[in-house]
């Protein structure tokens, strides 16, 4: 596609439910990143995929968070047993050559846990 596509754009869920957020990167981009942006905060790195290499999961805040990516295509971020502090905008970005050429960001998924 022409850009990074994220779905849904908005998600309201009840505390304790599981949610799945989807990211469709730009075709051919080997690197894919997930970030979280809480209200009034900067972007918090969550996880990074590069081709078929093992992902860098160092930013995942707890074992309730997980992500998958099949090859160089779609990625899914899953949050289990959601808590109110998980409320945030979840941003996905992709890049063709790592960080050097800059990321292309999606518009994000706004998650609200009630």
């Amino acid at each position: 596609g022409a850009g990074v596509s994220q779905s849904p754009s908005n998600k309201v869920t009840e505390k304790g439910k599981d949610v799945e957020l989807r990211c469709d990167p730009i075709s051919g981009h080997t690197a894919l990143y997930w970030y979280r942006q809480r209200l009034g905060q900067g972007l918090e790195f969550l996880i990074y995929f590069q081709g078929n290499s093992a992902p860098d999961k160092s930013g995942l805040p707890s074992d309730r968070f997980s992500a998958e990516r099949t090859g160089e295509s779609v990625s899914t971020l899953t949050i289990q047993r959601t808590q109110q502090e998980d409320s945030a905008v979840y941003l996905c970005a992709s890049s063709s050559q790592g960080q050097i050429y800059g990321y292309t960001f999606g518009s994000g998924t706004r998650l609200t846990v009630v």
Binding site: G3, V4, A31, Y33, Y35, G40, Q41, G42, L43, E44, F45, Y48, Q50, S53, D56, G59, L91, A93, Q97, G98, Q99, I100, G102, Y103, F105, G106, S107, G108
Partner: protein
Amino acid sequence: AQSVTQLDSQVPVFEEAPVELRCNYSSSVSVYLFWYVQYPNQGLQLLLKYLSGSTLVKGINGFEAEFNKSQTSFHLRKPSVHISDTAEYFCAVSTANQAGTALIFGKGTTLSVSS
């Protein structure tokens, strides 16, 4: 570990005035530096980047930034702002010459331009 500090959370200015958005970073190794902009209801987009070479880098929409290694700063400047520059600006850092490391972002600076 690397970190980024954006010293001003909000910067209000009048149209056609100059502006400087401050960014300081902390790192024990060489870095790449970036500024991203997020216009209202839009995704983040790259404004400019410093990888190597000239310490003064120019970006889109008339913005420029200067890398100062001794002061570990990468301040963003524009000599004359427009209403359309109203947005949130993020400074980011990554380890140089190490492909694939994630960018570390600051908390952002909201630039509000009024007439």
